[in-house]
């Protein structure tokens, strides 16, 4: 087990900067996730931890050991590849035993350990199978077993579930978490599936175009995004351009250009992210926070609008409200039965609760 410390890491491929000025400290035993859109540098970062790439600038440390240019075979990390990368000419047993054989472990010890780990991933029946004769989920578990059996200091997983169907994905998620807890192993997990990230992780780093935007627990990332990119990338949100318009006792005022009026926002760190004078500002409000009602509602930040579309998704109902020709807001409510659905074309009132709004700066590019 080991911490992973990346400081001031930059990686360039020729002219392309894949990762820029990255600082991260991953704690011992932590389940840490890299989340971000395609091409944002997640894999590149993971591969620098594994040693397949060396950073152009910066230092990689495991605990206090500098690992920046140590070759991959000397790092004792266990990696699960996106395509599993199982050795096609070996059986399940031989695949899993490979790392131990390299470490010159005795035959009996190898056998014991491999059988042990195969039992843990519930594949003890399949030890002598050729890997090509396994299903996707089974192959995945072989890959996991192969990475775990060497007792790595760090477990690295690059979108390990992206090739699986939805049901199997759920199952494997649980499996990975169970094994991670059992081995108490520092784990870095790469995904661009936000549900996966939110449900599994201790902490998440959100990447965009080579830069780490925010590091935090799933609730922090969701409830207190540091900028509009994070707010928009994680979950759904309504984003409106705003500018500062005054300071009250316990609240602040922002002018919403698209509404042509001011909104009131609680003056807490939960509602207002840190920003500087030069930042462009955005107001983010989650659909589930917005109240839409046919009757006039009391309170602050109430605006009239007209229902454009009602979308039924099963558990939830999305109501699209056209505020004016420049702005449509989405509100989401849990399904309470047909009598509560609004009619398309109906005049309604929309409330943006001042304690649910978050003001964020626009992400730099």
């Amino acid at each position: 087990m080991s911490t992973v410390h990346l400081s001031a890491i930059t990686k360039q491929f020729g002219k392309v900067t894949a990762v820029e000025d990255l600082d991260l400290l991953i704690k011992e035993g932590e389940f840490f996730t890299f989340l971000g859109p395609s091409g944002c540098g997640k894999t590149t970062t993971l591969r620098m931890v594994a040693g397949f790439y060396y950073p152009t600038k910066g230092v990689v440390k495991f605990n206090d050991r500098v690992m920046t240019t140590v070759p991959p075979e000397k790092r004792n990390t266990g990696m699960v590849f996106q395509n599993y990368a199982l050795f096609p000419h070996m059986t399940v047993f031989e695949n899993v035993a490979f790392g131990l054989k390299v470490r010159k472990m005795s035959k009996e010890e190898t056998k014991k350990r491999v059988e042990d780990v195969l039992r843990k991933v519930r594949l003890d029946q399949y030890a002598e199978r050729q890997v090509s004769q396994l299903s996707g989920g089974q192959q995945q578990r072989v890959a996991l077993a192969r990475a775990l059996v060497i007792e790595p200091d760090i477990l690295l997983l690059d979108e390990p579930l992206s090739n699986l169907d939805a049901r199997l994905r759920d199952e494997m998620r649980a499996e990975i978490l169970r094994l991670q807890k059992e081995y108490k192993i520092t784990t870095i997990y790469v995904t661009h599936d936000q549900v996966e990230a939110l449900t599994m992780s201790d902490r998440i780093a959100v990447f965009n175009s080579g830069k780490c935007q925010q590091v935090g627990t799933p609730t922090e990332i969701y409830n207190e995004p540091v900028n509009d990119f994070v707010a928009e990338f994680i979950g759904e949100t309504n984003l409106l351009g705003v500018s500062e318009a005054g300071l009250g006792e316990n609240h602040r005022l922002y002018h919403v250009d698209a509404l042509g009026s001011k909104v009131k926002v609680n003056n807490t760190s939960l509602n207002v992210a840190g920003y500087t004078e030069n930042d462009e500002l955005r107001l983010s409000v989650r659909p589930e926070a917005i109240e839409v009602s046919a009757q006039p509602v009391a309170g602050e930040n109430v605006f009239p609008g007209k229902v454009k579309l009602v979308q039924f998704t099963g558990a939830a109902v999305h109501t699209y409200v056209e505020m004016n020709d420049r702005l449509t807001l989405v509100g989401t409510a849990l399904n309470q039965g047909p009598s509560t659905y609004l009619k398309e074309g109906a005049e309604v009132y929309v409330r943006l609760p001042e304690d649910q709004i978050r003001i964020v700066p626009k992400a730099g590019v």
Binding site: M79, N83, A85, V102
Partner: protein
């Protein structure tokens, strides 16, 4: 400072570059240099002689080579494409058998094939004479020889290129495309010309270029059949025999330029974005032929094709049973026994060429095997400056006609140089294994490239990640995975080396004369039976290799042709 990765690449590259420079690049340049010498003095005289009025024969030979090649492309296409279409698109009794036989011409080494054709359809050929006797004619109704002979042999041996590319394109063709076209209202004719045909064109172009190159380089057919007809590859041989090495060099340069131009054109063409199918390969669906007339027409066609295709093999087998001196003035051979095969095994003088061929082919293939793996690995899995150049360098021996490779080696190694360790190699045993090594290196590199490209980088990374050093990974992971591909390439190189004629005829000595040279000798002495028996050995070897490849290495015979 170089990191470990770079150092490894360098260590890998040094031997590769050294060998390619010494045995491919240097001889090629040496030939180019020699072509500008006239009686040892630098001049353009040779080129003036080539293109000038003085030696019309050369220009004529170049022109002959070109149009013979164009016609070979045409005929090969006319046979290969319809055959592939019929055997792969329609289901009728015996289809599988016919389609397997269709590639049988590959199983005939070129010299042996030409020989079989000579005895089948030539002046004293069995077929023309049989027809003559059957119909009581006073003259043979037809005979092949000269141009017609060359063309027929070319069409027979080269149509499989068209057959195989068309067959594989057809099986990769997504049938839903054709169905979509019909669904949109196109009739069968329109569907073929507007959908199917355009999708097959890239394959046709590739096959055409290949056939053109192969027939430009063709040596055995003109050698045995041309009579007074001149083609460029043969001119090189005559210049060399007449001792005019400088002219031979000039002719080689010109033939090489044509061939390499085609190689570059082909690389460019294949590198373009072509319309490869996006959807997953669906096993070709064949239309059942229900109309009995049509069905039996097809079956008849199939039977007919099979007979024609296998006649040379059968002829060879029959001739190999004819003992020496029993078929002289008679129209047909009358005595058959196993004498020739017996002689092979109990007469040292007869056996020696077989032994020579086997030994030299084994040496060459061992070299090609080891060197091919490393070269291919460097080319596919490593990044370095000049990779493209190295790639072209490896492929040069493939693009160059065998005659030119032979000339290159003569000119490079008839004087001592560092790459021959200060020895004169020409006239020694070693020059032939070297020639085979160079000739067949591209074949192994290509088949190894194909498997290495399939091998995902992450497999190696996974091994490294588990703690394996590079060489351990290479031995325990990479090599076992690519072995079938490499082996099938090497085996193919082996059988081709055993039968290799053009470089052998330029470079052999009495001590290492290989099978192909001995076949020539036997033919000269009209001992046809023994020549055919040598040929049968090669056919048997090829059959065994193909069996091994398809059975144990999982490589289809079609694929191994490269």
């Amino acid at each position: 400072m170089l990191n470990a990765e770079k150092r490894r690449t360098l260590v890998l590259l040094i031997p590769v570059v050294l060998i390619l420079t010494g045995y491919v690049l240097y001889p090629t340049l040496r030939t180019a240099y020699e072509s500008f010498l006239h009686n040892g003095v630098p001049s353009f005289q040779n080129y003036e002689d080539f293109f000038g009025s003085k030696a019309k024969a050369n220009l004529q030979a170049l022109w002959n080579s070109v149009w013979i090649s164009l016609l070979s492309v045409l005929f090969s296409a006319l046979i290969g494409v319809p055959l592939a279409y019929i055997f792969n698109r329609y289901e009728f009794p015996g289809r599988r058998f016919f389609s397997n036989i269709a590639i049988m011409p590959i199983v005939l080494p070129s010299l042996v094939g030409v020989m079989a054709f000579m005895f089948l359809y030539g002046e004293a050929g069995l077929i023309p004479n049989a027809i003559k006797d059957l119909l009581n004619l006073s003259e043979v109704p037809f005979k092949i020889g000269g141009i017609s002979g060359i063309l027929i042999v070319h069409a027979y041996t080269m149509y499989p290129y068209f057959y195989m590319t068309t067959a594989s394109a057809l099986s990769n063709l997504d049938l839903s495309l054709e169905e979509a076209a019909s669904n949109l209202g196109a009739n069968r004719f329109k569907v073929f010309w507007q959908v199917t045909f355009p999708l097959l064109t890239p394959g046709f172009v590739a096959a055409s270029l290949l056939v053109f190159m192969v027939s430009m380089a063709s040596f055995s057919a003109p050698f045995l059949l041309a009579g007074g007809f001149r083609v460029l590859s043969l001119q090189i041989y005559f210049s060399k025999i007449n001792g005019d090495l400088e002219m031979a060099a000039t002719q080689s340069v010109i033939l090489s330029i044509v061939s390499i131009a085609f190689l570059l054109f082909m690389r460019w063409y294949q590198g373009r974005k072509d319309y490869r199918m996006a959807s997953k390969g669906i096993g070709a669906h064949r239309s059942e032929v229900n109309n009995p007339m049509l069905k039996w027409t097809m079956v008849t066609l199939g039977v007919f094709a099979v007979i024609i295709l296998l006649l040379p093999h059968a002829t060879l087998l029959i001739l190999s049973l004819v003992p020496e001196g029993t078929w002289t003035w008679q129209t047909y051979p009358a005595v058959f026994n196993l004498e020739n095969y017996k002689m092979l095994f109990d007469t040292p003088y007869i056996w020696e060429p077989v032994r020579n061929s086997l030994i030299m082919a084994v040496i060459a293939c061992f070299g090609v095997f080891v060197f091919g793996i490393f070269t291919s690995y460097a080319l596919v899995k490593r990044n370095f400056i000049g990779k493209n150049l190295l790639d072209i360098l490896v492929m040069i021996p493939w693009a160059l006609p065998a005659t030119v490779i032979g000339m290159n080696l003569i000119l490079a190694f008839n004087s001592p140089n560092p790459f021959s360790f200060g020895q004169i190699l020409v006239g020694t045993f070693w020059i032939l294994p070297l020639a085979y090594f160079i000739r067949f290196l591209p074949l192994v590199v290509r088949s190894t490239n194909a498997v290495l490209e399939q091998l995902d980088d992450s497999i190696e990374e996974a091994a490294q990640n588990l703690g394996a050093k590079w060489f351990y990974t290479f031995r325990k992971v990479v090599i076992p995975i690519i072995m079938p591909g490499v082996l099938s390439g090497t085996l193919l190189a082996f059988v081709q080396a055993v039968g290799e004629f053009p470089t052998s005829v330029l470079l052999y000595t009495i001590g290492n004369r290989p099978i192909s040279i001995e076949i020539m000798n036997q033919l000269r002495m009209f001992n046809i039976g023994q020549a055919a028996a040598y040929g049968m050995i090669q056919v048997a070897l090829i059959a065994v290799v193909m069996f091994i490849s398809s059975r144990f290495l999982g490589v289809k015979a079609e694929k191994s042709l490269g």
